[in-house]
Symmetry: C2
Subunit: 339 residues, 2 copies
Amino acid sequence: MSVKWYEKSGDLGDIVVSTRIRLARNLEQYPFPSRLNAEQRKVINSLFEDAMKKGNSTIANDFDFISLEELNPFEARSMAERHLISPEFAARPEGHGVILNKDNSIALMLCEEDHLRLQVLSPGLALNEAYELAEKIESLLSETLNFAFSQRYGYLTECPTNLGTGLRASVMLHLPALEQVGGIQSLSKTLSKVGFTLRGTYGENSGALGALYQLSNQLSLGIDEYTALDNLKGITHQVIEQEKAAREKLDEMAIWDKVFRSYGILKNARILSSKEFFEHISNIRLGISMGIISDISIETVNVLSNDMQAATLISRYDEAKDSANRDILRAKLVRESLK
Amino acid sequence: MSVKWYEKSGDLGDIVVSTRIRLARNLEQYPFPSRLNAEQRKVINSLFEDAMKKGNSTIANDFDFISLEELNPFEARSMAERHLISPEFAARPEGHGVILNKDNSIALMLCEEDHLRLQVLSPGLALNEAYELAEKIESLLSETLNFAFSQRYGYLTECPTNLGTGLRASVMLHLPALEQVGGIQSLSKTLSKVGFTLRGTYGENSGALGALYQLSNQLSLGIDEYTALDNLKGITHQVIEQEKAAREKLDEMAIWDKVFRSYGILKNARILSSKEFFEHISNIRLGISMGIISDISIETVNVLSNDMQAATLISRYDEAKDSANRDILRAKLVRESLK
């Protein structure tokens, strides 16, 4: 396996876990995905696959086409756990294809809500870099494909909320101190008034697992891409400052205690549920960020956070199908990783 | 400081933490302690001190007379925490003296419920050895003192439950598995029917802290000393077998998980209450006993169990007077000890 994007750390990587850019595009000559038949989906999958392969060979060789119909359900769910595809996309494999590069930083979901959902993931805060990479792939595709575009609205999308740039930019933030002082809800309200969404990373309505929150732009119409990215970047820095201020107010010894208890548990537990894993790894991330822990890297935290989820474990280890065995395996893998 | 008795481990030391022998004796020519005046108490303290010093010099040099009136309250409570004196004795220092040997294995409480409460503590299961040592001290005292003795009843004591041999023998047992499977209460009932008491080590009515239970004989009248000791020894072996059987029934992985979590927490926590310390050190003791943990010794567990209690910490460290600081200090001392 090649090194994955999340095995590296990026700018402000102790708080900004990752940056995600998503571009929505649709082919001119086809109806939106909800009205496509099976045959048309197959054609569209092929069109995108061919378009990628016709590009320069360096890019072409870096990508694989994956038909979700050929994956087992755990492999598909594992991709959703690792944010490569949406959970809804993973749940209905028929006619669904993904074009994925080797380090998993670029994923093209085909026939999801739009014909193309092009996603670029990057460690740390890297909005412009990730957007430029997305743009590059989009340009490559544009050489052979025509995307539906209106002079008045911009890129056309199935859902009007994506109309215009088709761009959704987001950052995954680790906000344990804001969460602890109960500041997330009011922050989320404030942000929504100025066009941004803050929500728990895992699950639309679930509480935030591991104090991980997704901050994303909501506006795609009447705003150009770089302005949208700049706005999100500015807001991200503000949220980081708030998180840092909240950390300053926490009782220092209580934080050290919490961090080191999690350190001791992850290094020693023999049974570890996913929920508990996220709770402790969140404390480890905080500990690294605050200089309390020095012998674990953010990269290790990122790798574990990606790899220790249920479907990913099941897709890699047969024994993980049984949930009791899975918790034992998770504890073992975490111990070995932190040794 | 010389090596203390509890820094060694004895027979069956993984389950039998310690053995305690207590002999009650009263001087013929004085009323029982509840009816002594201050002057008489002083005289009695001196009589015992002189009697010890008149013995052979090896013994005499090994003992110190401690007046509780000269200790600060924390030092007195610390002695009670370490089972050298009773909590009631520690709480009322007036006219109370203790003659203590260097390794703290022999303590003579003066003017407690009886004129003399002679106690011998020993690691592991060592009933006969501890009794013989108590007997030796008692003989030494008898050379110059006359103990109240009736041909019909035996040694006379203030409370009739101690009449006869004046002997109370007990073992401190670590029974985490029996506790976990809920077997303590019925065991305790059964034992009381055959003349033995099983109760939590810390506090008469409190739950057992750290799964430590005191098993003691109740009969002192109409039974000779060695029969009483043999009976207690037999019952102790039966309880050990029950504890071992209960351990066999526990889920192995759950035990490993519990033991290693405690290991991780004690090695890493920055704040540690006394209650939590006892909970985790109990799991460590179980882990050593079951061969799960090999890099911590029973001796270390014994030392920590003696030294990490509140009054003992306060009597040794000024900073421990504040309870928040004490929990931080306890965590630090435990980490250093387990390093």
